[in-house]
């Protein structure tokens, strides 16, 4: 082989390698052709699938943890889908798994609400069962799509926002100025939390003024920058800071710390991430964090997967369930520094396995601390 030929073979090989890499990210396979099956499926034919938005956010890592615990408990293999923040990636990876022919029991933490109909349709055609968490279009309900769309589940955002508003309102003695960091602006999760926060302040804390809100896309870095700009704009007029999740709150806290204002400002947010627990335990920044809502990613994925599993094995028939067990809201707890200790047990190394044990015993709707508290339709927002 001449040198030139060798070189071109080398180049071709390199090109092929790059092309393969590029394609690996976007493999799209047609969904299974089997029609939606409703009869019970034997356990050996099942595979659990948990689809998360990314694998770096602590919440989604906890989603995976819960799925692993349930997989171990039920002795069914598990596959994880990392959507890498993209609806396209999410849908194509789900379709690739469906094309393998096994019957799936699936939990999807959807990237965007609008992904839900596509995913449900693909799972239905492949004869699998799916529970969707957090995001779906309001008018797309499980009971309209048959038994394969087992349930839509979430923690109510309005309750979360109200809980945080109470914590900040009380900590400031009912007087002061607050800034807000919502997540992605068109996310229903963020919108419902914002609506709850604003409603609580309006109704019960008239002395608190909301200066401004700056959507920060669930991104700690962006929240950090936005907080810096708002500090430049309002300076020490700011008394309280609300963030739609703990990741953004960590970024905001750092900005106030840099500006030397942390001791005078109170923070509240959703999620009680383990990092937040550490800060609250330390009393960081003159007890800067005054309120949190508690829920865990491992509980969400375990509840979602177990509900779908019960439908797949015929132990429940979704169409016979009341509507609040199809579109379901699960309890979140309101945590203050005083009640923090009660929640530490949910972050021990065996916490996910312990929760799954109880879940299998008591069923998906009655397991403390995430019990069913409502549902049956879209979350009702407080009147503005």
């Amino acid at each position: 082989m001449s040198l030139k030929n060798k070189r071109s073979v080398f180049r071709l090989a390199a090109f092929a390698a790059v092309a393969t890499l590029a394609l690996a990210g976007c493999t799209s396979t047609a969904g299974g052709v089997a029609a939606g099956s409703t009869g019970p499926i034997a356990k050996e034919d099942l595979v659990l699938v948990a689809s998360v938005i990314n694998t770096t956010n602590p919440y989604f890592i906890a989603n995976i943890e819960g799925a692993k615990a349930l997989s171990k408990k039920l002795d069914i293999p598990l596959e994880i889908i990392d959507s890498q923040g993209s609806s396209q990636t999410e849908i194509s990876k789900i379709q690739a798994i469906l094309a393998q022919g096994k019957k799936v029991v699936m939990f999807v933490n959807t990237v965007a609400s609008s992904d839900t109909p596509t995913i449900v349709d693909a799972v239905k055609r492949a004869g699998g069962y799916v529970s969707i968490w957090w995001n779906k279009p309001d008018n797309f309900e499980p009971w309209d799509s048959g038994d394969n769309f087992v349930a839509f589940q979430k923690h109510p955002g309005v309750d979360s926002g109200r809980c945080n508003a109470k914590a900040i309102g009380d900590a400031l003695g009912g007087k002061g100025n607050v800034i807000m960091f919502p997540g992605v602006q068109d996310s229903t999760t963020s919108q419902t939390r914002v609506a709850g926060f604003e409603a609580e302040m309006r109704e019960n804390y008239p002395g608190i003024k909301i200066l401004e809100n700056q959507p920060s896309n669930w991104d700690p870095q962006l929240a950090n920058q936005n907080a810096k700009d708002l500090i430049a704009k309002y300076g020490d007029e700011i008394n309280g800071v609300w963030s739609a999740d703990d990741g953004m709150q960590l970024g905001a806290i750092q900005a106030f710390d840099d500006a030397g204002l942390l001791d005078k400002v109170k923070f509240a947010s959703d999620g009680l991430y383990p990092d937040t627990v550490e800060l609250m335990k330390k009393g960081y920044g003159n007890n800067a964090i005054v309120g949190e809502t508690f829920h865990r990613g491992y509980m969400a994925s375990a509840i979602g997967l177990y509900t779908a599993y019960l439908a797949a094995t015929g132990e429940i028939v979704p169409s016979e369930l009341p509507k609040e067990k199809r579109t379901s809201f699960f309890d979140i707890k309101c945590v203050t520094p005083d009640t923090l200790d009660e929640y530490l047990k949910y972050d021990t190394p065996t916490a996910a396995a312990d929760f799954v044990d109880k879940l299998v015993e008591t069923g998906p709707w009655d397991t403390e601390p995430a019990t069913l508290i409502g549902g049956g339709g879209p979350e009702v927002l407080p009147k503005p």
């Binding site: 790059v18 770096t56 995976i64 602006q185 700056q214 991104d219 710390d257």
Partner: protein, 349 residues
């Protein structure tokens, strides 16, 4: 034949005055344009500053000035590298991945809340080593295998993110525990934030490399015509790899500083930086085709974008309109700044 004819003509003494006058006019015009473009960019910047300070009196305060400088520091550092790469006529899309991998490596090897080892200064060396490896890999694949830089660095972006995600694992977020470093980036020394001093140093070195070293001169020459560079026997291959390595090192430095600024390690610590850096280079007037442009112009571009973001928040533009307003002002600013160049914009196709 032609050559013969020409030499015969000059032998009889043709008058070349007209040609020489024409040449000097072109040269003068080029020099004027070289000045006019940064000047109009400065004017666009000045207009923004005047408008924003009329809208909110806090815009023109020392504390907001320091805030803007802190926020522009990391994009500035990364943009120096991006300018060099674009001057080659290539592009580096890997910045956010390199920032993630470097920042994560650094914090896990420094004093952090996860415990583990604290290597002190060696954490910097190893982390920047990771950046260097990624940069050299991009450079080698690009030059040796002739894969377009767009594709190589796009891949390297995800390789970097992947490394960061693997290192991150499933444990708690690593928080910085070194009290001396906490908040270091936004602390003020001699009137300016520390991170901005680092940026100034990087900008100075960047200008020095571009103007006074062989790497800089060959970079500009490659951007103009790689064929000529090769036929002149200049080390095009080595310079291209070196430029990608420098760019990755600077992205890595940006990643470490961003981690210090946020106080926590995150694989996505660089999110959003690419979309400040590349537009800033282009707004500054560096040609995407390479060969023309410079680092100081990029600095103006970064300032334009940072001030725009900061000013919109301070002047109370509602968040749902902010991105549309940012885009509109940006287009207006570019049209204004590039007016003197409008007949020569190579990208206007």
């Amino acid at each position: 034949m032609v050559h013969n004819a020409l030499s015969k003509q000059s032998a009889v003494g043709i008058d070349t005055t007209a040609i020489r006058i024409r040449e000097s006019v072109i040269e003068r015009r080029a020099r004027f344009r070289g000045l006019a473009e940064p000047l109009s960019l400065l004017m666009a910047l000045a207009v923004l500053i005047v408008v924003f300070s009329l809208l909110n009196e806090r815009f023109l305060t020392t504390s907001n000035f320091q805030n803007v400088l802190t926020q522009s520091a990391i994009p500035l550092i990364v943009a120096v590298g991006a300018t060099l790469v674009i001057l080659l006529g290539s592009i580096d899309l890997s910045v956010e991945g390199v920032m993630g991998a470097t920042g994560m490596t650094w914090i896990l090897l420094s004093a952090n809340s996860r415990g583990g080892v604290d290597l002190g200064p060696w954490a910097w060396v190893i982390a920047l080593g990771v950046a260097l490896v990624l940069g050299v890999a991009s450079g080698l694949i690009f030059t040796a295998l002739k894969v377009p830089s767009f594709i190589v660095t796009l891949g390297m972006w995800y390789v970097g993110l992947g490394i960061a995600t693997m290192l991150y694992g499933t444990d708690l977020l690593p928080r910085l525990e070194d009290e001396g470093l906490k908040g270091w980036t936004s602390r003020i020394s001699f009137g300016l934030p520390n991170s901005f001093w680092v940026a100034l140093l990087v900008i100075g070195l960047g200008i020095l490399v571009l103007r006074s070293t062989r790497i800089g001169r060959v970079t500009l020459a490659i951007g103009n015509s790689e064929t000529i560079v090769r036929s002149a026997g200049l080390p095009a291959f080595r310079v291209k790899v070196a430029v990608f390595a420098i760019a990755a090192l600077l992205s890595g430095l940006g990643g470490i500083l961003a981690t210090v600024q946020l106080d926590i390690g995150s694989p996505t610590v660089g999110s959003g930086v690419l979309f400040i850096v590349i537009p800033a280079v282009v707004i500054g007037g560096t040609h995407l085709g390479g060969g023309k442009g410079g680092i100081l112009r990029t600095v103006l571009g970064v300032f334009l974008l940072t001030i725009l973001n900061n000013g919109l928040i301070l002047s109370g533009v509602e968040s749902s309109y902010q991105s549309a307003v940012t885009g509109a002002i940006l287009v207006a600013a570019i049209v204004f700044a590039a007016w003197s160049q409008r007949d020569r914009l190579r990208v206007a196709k």
